[in-house]
Amino acid sequence: MAVIDLLVPKLPDTEVYGALARFPTTRALYRACEQVRDAGYTRWDAHTPFPVHGLERAMGLPSSKLPYIVLATGLGGAALGFLLQTWVHTSAYPLVISGKPLLAWPAFIPVTFELGVLGAALGAVIGMLALNKLPMYYHPLFRSRAFERVTDDGFFISIEAWDPRFDLDKTVALLRASGAEEVEIIPGERSAVAGGGAEVEGGRG
């Protein structure tokens, strides 16, 4: 239990998780993302029911670090595979096989290649989970009833309270000005027991 808890990323223990805003269309979401980006926020995210191409540019996201992780774990896996075979065949259990030298490198390549692929695949999956702060048992955004529309027809922006630029009133005002149909304050871990978001501005329809 304790070990597993160490592997589960934790969000900061705050009174307020952040502000959540819903937009009616992808077009509105694009524009709002550009405004949030230009306002200098860094700890925020956009949520959509389906992949929206080009959103990462509107959000100003830097390119992912994942490729470097995959390259490192891939090369590491390949090196591990090659060194393991070298050690086994030349020192741990030297055995002449079909008249080949002990360090018969061509015969080591298939295993080296496969372990390289395995390392890259594991690096990709685990790296992706780690960069996304997964696995997480529960996310504060799920406390919002309005957020359920994210799997249907809602396009959302959430700005986290620990963003250096976060200011309850100013952030809500920014989201409202950028065309949000509703803005909600999401309670953080500390005030989470009761649950339920506080509606700041009602929907227009």
């Binding site: 694009y30 191409h53 080009g54 490729p67 079909s98 008249g99 080949k100 061509p106 390549i109 298939p110």
Partner: protein, 402 residues
């Protein structure tokens, strides 16, 4: 947003009437004819070198044409959208294949110097060759070559014709017709390319055989095709063509395919080597035995590093494939390495002790290349550089890697 139409001026779709590209057929023809004449003069007293050099040059441009035909076929078979803007260039490159029949004539004339099995005297004293006579005989060699060229020409011209007819009529049924043809065409392509590589390269050393050899030649051909397409699109853009048609998104994809087939080539090359090395049978190892000693060892090492290790790391980053000068450098390097690959396949049969570069290697490349590019220049000038009425052209123009 991904679905925004870009405005593209009409003239970008056509080759300019002046400059290197506009005069390519004249320049190519002049270079080709002069280089062919110089080769013939240089060859006096050294015909064998001429035929070997010519074979390397012929195979180099043949593989570019075949790789391009493969790109057209696989493009239709997979209903690809991104590459419609480069498809016409591949169609035209593939349509140079019929002209290569003419350039194959010196290979036929040089058969006695190139192919040991054409010598009846040698076959009479060689048990292995006697058993292969049913396949390795001059009559069969010629008939097969004619069949290969007939099928390649039929396919290449068929796809170019259908595609060009769409330029005029905008009939979307032509797209479906090309898709329907692509499946059986891939089968024909695979078989003819395999046996052509057996006939023209593998039989240089008639005792040796490798069942994966066709795939090896195919892998190199596709590498050559994507390198060639990258080079011509990038240089066409420098001449002002297709400037707003091909974006870095298309170059990114060309780079990805170049990278992928470079890795595929290495995979196949190593598969061939590993099985022969492990099986250790004399009639199979002769191929690598000669190439892993003397002067050829260095060439083999250069091929492994230059055709795989360097491009593997160079072409891997996204930023390289999206930067035109870097992609151009990578593609030009891969063309050079593809030439080295063919040289390494062919030349050890002539110079067993190590590579001996001859001026004929250069003049034959200029001769075959000049004539090949002259045909390509003529084809490119006779129509648009892009399938301008393809129903999915807009999808290709606004393509973005997600």
């Amino acid at each position: 947003m991904s679905q925004h139409a870009r405005s593209v001026s009409e003239q970008q779709f056509y080759l300019p009437s002046s400059g290197w590209w506009g005069n390519l057929r004249v320049i190519g023809l002049a270079v080709g004819v002069i280089a062919a004449a110089v080769s013939a003069l240089l060859a006096a007293g050294n015909e064998t070198q001429l035929y070997y050099s010519w074979l390397v040059a012929f195979l180099f441009f043949l593989s570019i044409g075949l790789g391009s035909l493969f790109f057209v076929l696989i493009h239709h078979a997979s209903k690809a959208g991104w590459g419609i803007v480069v498809r016409r260039l591949a169609e035209c490159t593939a349509a140079c294949l019929p002209a290569l029949l003419l350039l194959f004539v010196p290979v036929y004339l040089g058969r006695a110097d190139l192919y040991h099995w054409t010598d009846a005297e040698a076959v009479a004293h060689d048990h292995v060759l006697q058993n292969k006579v049913a396949y390795l005989n001059v009559g069969g060699f010629v008939v097969r070559a004619l069949v290969y060229f007939a099928l390649w020409s039929f396919l290449a011209l068929l796809f170019l014709r259908l595609s060009r007819r769409q330029d005029a009529t905008a009939d979307e049924r032509l797209s479906r017709q090309m898709i329907r043809w692509s499946g059986p065409a891939i089968l024909i392509f695979a078989l003819t390319l395999t046996f052509a590589s057996f006939d023209w390269i593998m039989s240089l050393d008639p005792h040796w055989y490798s069942t994966i050899f066709g795939v090896y030649f195919f892998a190199g051909s596709v590498v050559a095709c994507f390198a060639f397409l990258s080079v011509i699109t990038l240089t066409l853009q420098q001449a002002g063509c297709l400037r707003d048609v091909l974006t870095q998104e298309h170059f990114h994809d060309l780079g990805k395919l170049l990278f992928a087939f470079t890795v595929f080539w290495a995979y196949i090359a190593f598969s061939q080597f590993l099985l022969i090395w492990y099986g250790n049978l004399p009639e199979e190892t002769s191929f690598f035995f000669g190439r892993l000693q003397g002067g050829w060892l260095a060439v083999s090492r250069l091929l492994a590093v230059g055709h795989f290790v360097i491009p593997f790391f160079f072409l891997m980053p996204r930023s390289v494939k999206r930067r035109r000068p870097l992609l151009l450098a990578g593609a030009a390097w891969m063309l050079l390495m593809h030439w080295l690959d063919l040289y390494w396949l062919v030349m050890p049969n002539l110079h067993g002790e190590g590579p001996r570069f001859s001026l004929l290697d250069l003049t034959c490349m200029l001769a075959v290349g000049g004539l090949f590019l002259a045909v390509l220049g003529t084809l490119l000038r006779s129509g648009a550089l892009v399938p301008i009425r393809d129903p999915r052209l807009l999808e290709s123009l606004s393509f973005e890697n997600s």
